[in-house]
């Protein structure tokens, strides 16, 4: 199980508190689709995602971004038990959506960049380190059903 210091817990909560899920969720998912275009394969039913402009304007992508980012709430609230909390979502992504677990890391990377853009100077190296540790734990929990 992952060990968290008090300082890491408060850092993660502090970053999460500054994240507006309705804004950053869409932004992150749009980044993923634009920066890693092969990920578009999962969104065949979302309408026009053929160009950057189309992705940026697409409402289904925006709404789905909110759904995905909202699910990080579970992690923030259950840092000591991420595996059980994410077990059903992990199974869903594996068996129903057939999402390659590598994509979880790509989403996490784009989220980190979006957070960096938003927080600027308030995202110094030790905060980045703690945040990335947190996201690695989430990615690992989401990947747990696959292996």
């Amino acid at each position: 199980m992952v060990e968290w210091t008090d300082s890491e817990r408060s850092t993660i909560t502090a970053v999460w508190d500054r994240i507006n899920v309705d804004e950053m969720g869409p932004e992150t998912l749009k980044r993923v689709l634009i920066v890693y275009p092969w990920t578009k394969r999962y969104f065949g039913r979302f309408g026009d995602i053929s160009s950057t402009a189309a992705v940026l304007a697409n409402d289904k992508v925006a709404n789905h971004g909110k759904v995905v980012l909202k699910a990080l709430d579970k992690a923030v609230e259950n840092m000591d038990d991420m595996h059980s909390v994410y077990a059903p979502l992990s199974q869903l992504h594996c068996e129903k959506f057939n999402v390659d677990p590598v994509e979880f890391r790509l989403f996490a990377d784009c989220l980190t960049i979006a957070v960096g853009c938003k927080l600027g100077k308030d995202f110094p190296p030790h905060v980045q380190g703690t945040w990335q540790k947190f996201l690695s734990a989430v990615v690992e929990a989401l990947s747990s059903f696959y292996f």
């Binding site: 749009k30 920066v35 940026l56 960049i113 853009c117 980045q128």
Partner: protein, 147 residues
């Protein structure tokens, strides 16, 4: 060979035209050593790296960060010929410095986040995609002479 669009060439030239090498280079390397602490193994002679605060004020690290960032200048000038442009540096890192090639990717990730934090909303998805593509090609060129 890698194909570059005009947008990508202009975006990358634009970023490097405005970068403050002193600040960004030192910040990116410090981030690397803090977020991925095992990378400190390469800097045994650099003085005090005991904690994040020490790393951030270490003048040898700051200076080396600038050196590394200037190492990207040759990529800018040889975007259509990076493998040859980086051949000697790749040999140096492999045969003399014994740097694990995965570290090039870690440094580029930290450089990306440093820039995102600095550029804020200007580091949008298209800019991120162009910049990450550029760094991926540099990293591949740097890894090429390893065996």
């Amino acid at each position: 060979m890698v194909e570059w669009t005009d947008f990508e060439r202009q975006t990358i030239a634009g970023i490097f035209g405005k970068i403050d090498y002193e600040t960004v280079g030192s910040a990116a390397l410090a981030r690397c050593l803090i977020v991925y602490p095992w990378t400190q193994r390469y800097f045994g002679n650099f003085g005090n790296l005991y904690n994040a605060a020490a790393i951030k004020i270490n003048p040898l690290i700051a200076k080396h960060g600038v050196t590394i960032l200037h190492g990207l200048d040759r990529a800018l000038k040889n975007m259509d010929n990076m493998k040859e442009a980086y051949s000697d540096l790749s040999v140096l890192h492999s045969e003399k410095l014994h740097v694990d090639p995965d570290n090039f990717r870690l440094f580029s990730d930290c450089l990306t986040i440093t820039l995102a934090a600095k550029m804020g909303a200007d580091f949008n998805a298209d800019v991120q995609a162009a910049f990450q593509k550029f760094l991926t090609v540099v990293v591949a060129a740097m890894q090429r002479q390893y065996h």
